[in-house]
Amino acid sequence: MATAVAEVKAEKASLGSTLWSWLTTTDHKRIGILYGVTAFVFFLIGGLEALIIRAQLAHSGNDLVSAETFNQLFTMHGTTMIFLAVMPLSAAFFNYIVPLQIGARDVAFPRLNAFSYWVFLFGGLLLNASFLFGAAPDGGWFGYPNLTSKQYSPGLNIDFWVIGLQVLGIASLAAGFNFVVTIINLRAPGMRMMRLPVFTWMTLVTQFLVITAFPVITVALVFLMFDRFFGTTFYSTAAGGDLLLWQHLFWLFGHPEVYILILPAMGIVSEVLPTFSRKPLFGYAVVVYSGLLIGVMGWGVWAHHMFAVGMGPIADSVFSATTMLIAIPTGVKIFNWLATMWGGQVQFRTPMLFALGFIAMFIIGGLSGVMHSSAAADLQQTDTYFVVAHIHYVLFGGAIQGIFAGIYYWWPKITGRLMNEKLGKWHFWLSFIGMNLAFFPMHFIGLLGMPRRIYTYSPELGLDTLNLVSTVGAFLIGISVLIFIYNVWWTRRHGEVAGNDPWRAATLEWTIPSPPPPYNFSVIPEVVSRLPRWSVTQMKAIPEVPPEPIHLPGGSYWPVVTAFGILVMAAGALLHSLWVVLLGGAVLVVGIYAWAFEPFEV
């Protein structure tokens, strides 16, 4: 049993490298790596789906894929990129970086952290297993009933989606509780809230959004699942139900969700810009408060996704106004970032390029977002490619570029080696040109009247050229990702050794070796300022070798067992087999019992 608490002589501390050690790991750094690698694989799958979609739309009247397959592709592309790529890629950084930034040795509940990862993995596998049955979800990532009701979608497709998302919700919620407690309770002495790095702050806001928004979509999904499985009538108007209820619940979750996707990237950019401008972040407190404000205001705008429903002039006006207001804290952040660079010694290293790309693209996406906030304009844009252009500017131009900035920035911390600059720049420029070729024409395609989610279009629309340009751009993005993968492979062998702090950055994670030892900090640091490495008042140096033995918790296999119980329950629900559900439930109950009472100490 690998569960006992060992008092490890710190010099000898290592976690082993066997498969078993990864299955049972509770180390936040390893879980971060697991999140990162898994999410990147899902990112590739989602990207492949996007490329097939773009290949199908390369010219009018194409028949590369059928309409049914196309429906599955765009549904899985959206669902994968949101829940299996961007969110868990951010989670990789939460896991790896946040404990290092606050001066902690791990998260508050290390086994719950492992549990989150395994549930996420199983949920992702479950969703994608639908392809093996030829029944991938096909109701859009927004899953509106009655399209997704049993009557109109009788197959397994929507069952996979409804159950898969609920499983993924458990993973996100568990991680949410964990990180809120971690950030509030595990800060090193002196690490006051207003000394937290902005990335950690944005993580905290994001986790609050997760723990408040995910219950709402869980309720919406439960209603849909009961409607499909047990004949309840939540979304059946004929029996007293209400179709719009879904839309309200879904977007009550859906809009906070876009901030769940973008705030971590904003946090990353707020770390990268000061480092490569050699200047502290301009208006730290304002950046933090505007992030908080975005999180709060994100709750009051959901119905801007529903202007086409006909909610009436008052509701439309209110949601128009709140949506326009939310542009203010967002704009404040952008000005703070620009002011951070102003007068700095700007170094155009790869992370900085991606951060700059983030700002530029996010401004374009933000502007089209403000256009949507006008109900009158939105009626023209709803369900056209204009909206597709908008979300890809904020989610690819924004979230994904922010995440790549983070990958290049923290790669030396995580692996001990710097990634290749030349390849990094190729990656950035190809991806930057590719995304603008792919997504900018979509503005015109949309305004010229091409609806989204339609598998083909007629030549009379005259949109062949614009669509072809968009497809070429998408494939350029694909090539840029291949270059990134080559860079990773190259760096493993030839990357320059990083040392503790290759970027001469300011925050706590750069005070320790790269990669950090299992215990992170040989002594818990005492923080005396917001930018420990840039301050005149220097904090006490962290010794190379721990002066005292350090408690290192052993691993535990109960998190993966418990998560597996949830997978079995989900599979049972898909098969409509009560016995399989009960079997999974039994595994779950035993898993939690053993977990709760095994000897384990942080």
Partner: protein
Amino acid sequence: MAHAHAAVMQPPAAAEPGSGVYNEKLGMWIFLGSEVMFFTALIGSYIILRFGTPHPWAPPGVILNIPVTAFNTFLLICSSVFMVKAYAAIADGKKHFLRTDPSVPHDWRLWRWVDGGLKFWFLMTILGGATFVGIQVYEYIHLAHNGFLPSGIKEGTHFGELVAQGIVPAATAGIYGSTFYTMTGFHGFHVTCGVVSMLYLFFKKVLPEKYSEHDYRGVETIGLYWHFVDLVWIILFTIVYLI
């Protein structure tokens, strides 16, 4: 003895900047915040469905048995009170089941000199919760037997007759069943989870006397959950049964 384990309950080494609340308790609060959102969405949906429909709703007390559930509500509130007693007992270091209090003269008023400890009150809490779930299961069986189902009201049953006579409106019978079973079902699930968790704690922690006045974090944390579940029920009972 009393001070040997004092270190366990101390707040984290540096009170500032941590919150001063231990991880499990803070985690439970955050979890309950999430639960508030869950039940808010559930109850909010119910309000939209019920007051958004142009059709009339079934009058209270026709299908659902209010007296039985009122008794059940009383039981759950008692269980919450027992939890407070359990917490107070262990905070005083009373690990025992029942004992006579030597400081009080024995008279005919039992509660004056019989003194319950953690074991007693914790077990009473569990019994209260378990009985609540039992009565709820009985209620479900009774309702289903008479034709009230999550999908609506079956024709040719006792409740089907009420629909035929126009006492229960047919237009909202489906959504009435859907909301009733979903809301009370999720609450019942929460109570069941609480009972199972408390049984874990009872056998692994309470009976072996692992809790003391210096460390009773488990009792406090599960107590928070238990009071929350109780509170939710009072709201559900009001809007689902009484209104």
